[in-house]
């Protein structure tokens, strides 16, 4: 008996490789490795770079996680992320207005944002059910429109707290500092900060100390802060991912995934597809709201007005880099993608600056990588007529 083995050429293999959804992940991993090698070769403080990558990962991961329920429920990557970001900011602003600070302020911001996010998410989901097949472009422009409308809202909403308002004239500030509210609360709690005394080379480890404590007590001319591990932030991110993972394993989560994977089949089996799409959109919006509050506390500022306009694209790109496609996403894609993308951006900045000081090379790189990855995913959605 002869077995007719088809000969697999290198070209065929390459084609197969280049058309898989994990292809961007491979490319970006290679690129990330290359940038790391360059950073070490340039004699940059590699531990410091990795530590800020970790911080940036923690900052952005929940915004990336917001993509999972959206993709699983079948609406595709949520380009309407700014809607959730705005409800999150609204919760955070109200929390500041009510005078809450510290961990309670953070929790209050999350709690106040939640009903807004749920309400907006349900409406947004219902809208997306009416525009099946064009969710991505419609949600992009819905997001843009709402960001512009809320820019008027930030001027008119009756906030009175002096920390948030312009001293003269109406409206909230463009950038609102969270110092003394809950800036860095997740980043500093249970964190480990490694310092080296320049003169002696002695290593000091600080536990559970704030950034301001560090700058006040350790003169940067004498000490180098070469590594931070924000344990609570990372724990919060992993906990959020774990909850999402539990959800995907639950009966509801399974139904949601079934509705997204094959709507027709799901409908034939009596699953209310539209309902699960609304649920996915709402979860995505809720996570976006939660994510922006986590982001703001890490960053130390809330950014209003036009800041959320383009916020969806980096998050979409991150999950795609992690290996997701417009139809399939897993929690592992979030973790890998957020780390790779944020790491690449963080480490490429000093590397690019050392190579070529002018010209903002790392920003150009971000544009090309971010949009290139999204384009790649779109070519997988379309295909032949």
């Amino acid at each position: 008996m002869e077995i007719n083995r088809e000969r697999i050429t290198l070209g065929d293999r390459w084609k197969k490789l280049a058309s898989s959804s994990t292809f961007p992940r491979m490319i970006i991993t290679l690129f990330f490795g290359l940038v790391c090698i360059m950073a070490i070769a340039q004699g940059l403080q590699f531990p410091q770079l990795m530590s800020s990558s970790l911080g940036r990962f923690g900052m952005n991961a929940i915004l990336v996680l917001a993509m999972v329920p959206a993709i699983q429920s079948g609406i595709g990557p949520n380009f309407g992320l700014p809607l959730g970001i705005i409800t999150g900011l609204l919760g955070a602003l109200i929390s500041v207005q009510l005078g809450f600070t510290g961990i309670f302020g953070f929790a209050a911001a999350q709690a106040i944002a939640l009903p807004f996010s749920i309400g907006v998410g349900i409406l947004f989901g219902m809208m997306l059910n009416r525009v099946k097949g064009s969710e991505m472009i419609v949600s992009t422009y819905t997001g843009f429109a709402v960001v512009s409308l809320m820019s008027i809202g930030w001027i008119f909403l009756p906030f009175t707290d002096a920390r948030m308002k312009w001293p003269l004239g109406p409206g909230l500030r463009n950038v609102i500092s969270l110092d003394g509210v809950y800036a860095g609360i997740l980043n500093d709690a249970f964190s480990l900060k490694f310092l080296t005394e320049k003169a002696s080379g002695k290593m000091i480890v600080l536990f559970n100390q704030t950034e301001s404590y560090l700058t006040q007590n350790y003169d940067s001319t004498l000490y180098v802060n070469n590594f931070n591990i924000p344990f609570l932030l990372i724990a919060v991110v992993f906990f959020a991912c774990y909850l999402m993972w539990l959800f995907t394993k639950s009966r509801t989560g399974m139904m949601l995934k079934a509705a997204g994977d094959n709507p027709r089949f799901a409908k034939a089996n009596g699953i209310n597809v539209d309902k699960y799409r609304v649920l996915g959109t709402t979860l995505s919006t809720v996570l976006a709201g939660a994510g922006i509050i986590v982001f703001s506390q890490s960053y130390g500022f809330m950014q209003l007005y036009q800041a959320p306009l383009m916020a969806a694209f980096p998050a979409v790109a991150a999950i795609l880099i992690g290996g997701a496609s417009a139809k399939h996403a897993k929690i592992s894609h979030v973790l890998i993608g957020a780390f790779l993308f944020q790491g690449l951006l963080t480490i490429s900045l000093p590397v690019a600056n050392a190579m070529y000081p002018e010209g903002n090379l790392s920003e150009i790189l971000r544009m090309i990588v971010q949009n290139g990855v999204i384009l790649y995913a779109l070519t997988k959605v379309g295909g032949e007529s």
């Binding site: 422009y141 819905t142 843009f144 512009s148 007005y305 070529y356 002018e358 544009m367 007529s385």
Partner: protein, 460 residues
């Protein structure tokens, strides 16, 4: 295309007619209302409003017209015209580098832009063939992606890898272009305001005419054309033309209109012709009108805009144009009837990209300054929003809608900061509002279209 049976208008009650009209033109009507409210609130002088509007019309109309062919070919709104704009800007920078200016320099820029735009257009077309069904989001993202490459070219490669002759336009380090490149020349200007080394006004200043004079001529031409199409059969008989002769085909309107509509159109054209004549030649009118009479419009730019509009009409009467429509209507049917669908779509996008490159050059010569990293970025949004405001949709767009859209959209742009200031004491509110309207119009139009399509699918 005679699939749809036109229902005799007598069978529809007046109420249904009005309802249908409102349903079909909802975006345009909402916008018209906002515009009128804005004009009243802003309370600017008519002279200011008209002069601003004329400038914006001469700048932007060409770009909006560049969007029409992809719509006909079923590819939706081509957000990637910003890549066409980039091609135009690359050509402008090349001319600036060699110090070319004046009319000759402009012709050079237009010529150089073509191959660059064709190359870009083919690449975009190939990409959009891979993202079938998601052309709009893909064309938007490819614009952002190309912007990254564009910045790489002009911020990093220029001066570093690509040697530049003209160092004035480079940053002080000698690498990368400045944020703003002045397009005015240094040489003395001649009597119509042209220099041999500047591109500013190199089209606009060739020939200008008072706007009431233009109104007189345009009204006359439209009137005669309408007359010609009314009596086209008599003309064809008198000149012994065949049914498919070019003149007969041009005189045949794309949509058969009723006698009443034709007569009303002719009356309006005649009115404008007479009004233009009275104001321009007899100088009769209110002080405001006589002030506006002094405004001039660049004729060569107007001719170029007219040519593109004509091109959009004529191409639809050719084989290629028929292919655009067939592909736009149903790709599957087009494939069966032997049309190379992918190729036709690439051609449609390429034409759009080339026109966008020219449109951006026309805009830049009027503005007089190239904002190297910003000039092209808002083009996509404004042009698409303007077209939709004029009543176009994802699957249907005409020249008339483009003209109306530019008029309405830019009226809003002129009045909204002042209206915001008068209403709330803050011009920024007006600016946010107009951004909201631009994004909202696109979101609403695309959403309504997708909704209708989903409904049709469900009922099928």
């Amino acid at each position: 295309m005679s699939e749809f049976v036109s229902v005799p208008s007598k069978e529809l009650s007046f109420k249904t007619k009005v309802k249908n009209f409102v349903m079909h033109h909802i975006v345009m009507l909402i916008f018209l209302t906002i515009c009128i409210a804005g004009i009243i609130l802003a309370n600017q002088s008519p002279f200011y409003l008209v002069s601003q509007l004329l400038e914006r019309i001469s700048r932007n109309t060409f770009l909006v017209l560049a969007l029409i062919i992809p719509v006909i070919a079923g590819m939706g709104l081509n957000f990637s015209i910003i890549i066409g704009a980039m091609a135009g800007q690359i050509a402008v920078v090349i001319a600036k580098n060699f110090g070319f200016g004046g009319v000759g320099g402009m012709i050079f820029v237009m010529a150089v832009a073509v191959p660059i735009a064709i190359l870009f257009g083919i690449l975009i077309g190939k990409l959009l063939n891979k993202t079938r069904g998601q052309e709009m989001i893909a064309s938007m993202i490819v614009g952002f992606f190309a912007n990254g490459l564009y910045q790489l070219l002009f911020l990093v490669f220029v001066g570093l890898i690509i040697p530049m002759k003209n160092t004035d336009i480079l940053l002080r380090t000698g690498v990368g272009l400045r944020n703003t490149v002045d397009l005015a020349g240094k040489n003395p200007v001649n009597d119509i305001g042209l220099t041999s080394d500047g591109l500013k006004y190199s089209i606009d200043s060739i020939w200008k005419m008072g706007i009431f004079n233009i109104m007189f001529f345009v009204g006359l031409v439209v009137f005669l054309f309408a007359l010609g199409s009314m009596f086209r059969n008599n003309i064809a008989a008198a000149l012994r033309l065949k049914e498919d002769h070019l003149i007969t085909r041009i005189l045949t309107p794309s949509k058969e209109k009723s006698k009443n509509v034709q007569i009303i159109g002719m009356a309006i054209a005649a009115f404008f012709a007479i009004w233009g004549f009275v104001v321009h030649y007899l100088k009769i009118g209110s002080p405001d009108i006589l002030m506006i009479r002094s405004l001039k419009f660049p004729i060569v730019t107007a001719i170029l805009i007219g040519l593109v509009a004509l091109f959009n009409v004529i191409i639809q009467k050719t084989k290629l144009g028929q292919d655009f429509r067939t592909v736009g209507h149903d790709q599957h049917v087009a494939k069966i009837s032997g049309i190379q669908v992918d190729k036709v779509r690439v051609v449609a996008i390429t034409i759009s990209t080339v026109l966008a490159a020219w449109g951006q050059i026309i805009l830049l010569q009027n503005v007089g300054v190239l904002n190297t990293y910003g000039s092209h970025m808002t083009i996509g949004l404004f042009s698409v929003a303007a077209l939709l405001v004029g009543g176009a949709s994802v699957s249907k767009a005409t020249n008339g809608q483009a003209f109306l859209g530019v008029l309405l959209f830019h009226t809003l742009f002129i009045v909204s900061p002042t209206a915001g200031k008068n209403l709330f004491g803050d011009p920024q509110i007006g600016e946010f509002f107009r951004a909201f309207v631009a994004y909202g119009v696109i979101g609403l139009s695309l959403g309504l279209y997708a909704w209708k399509r989903a409904m049709a699918k469900r009922s099928a």
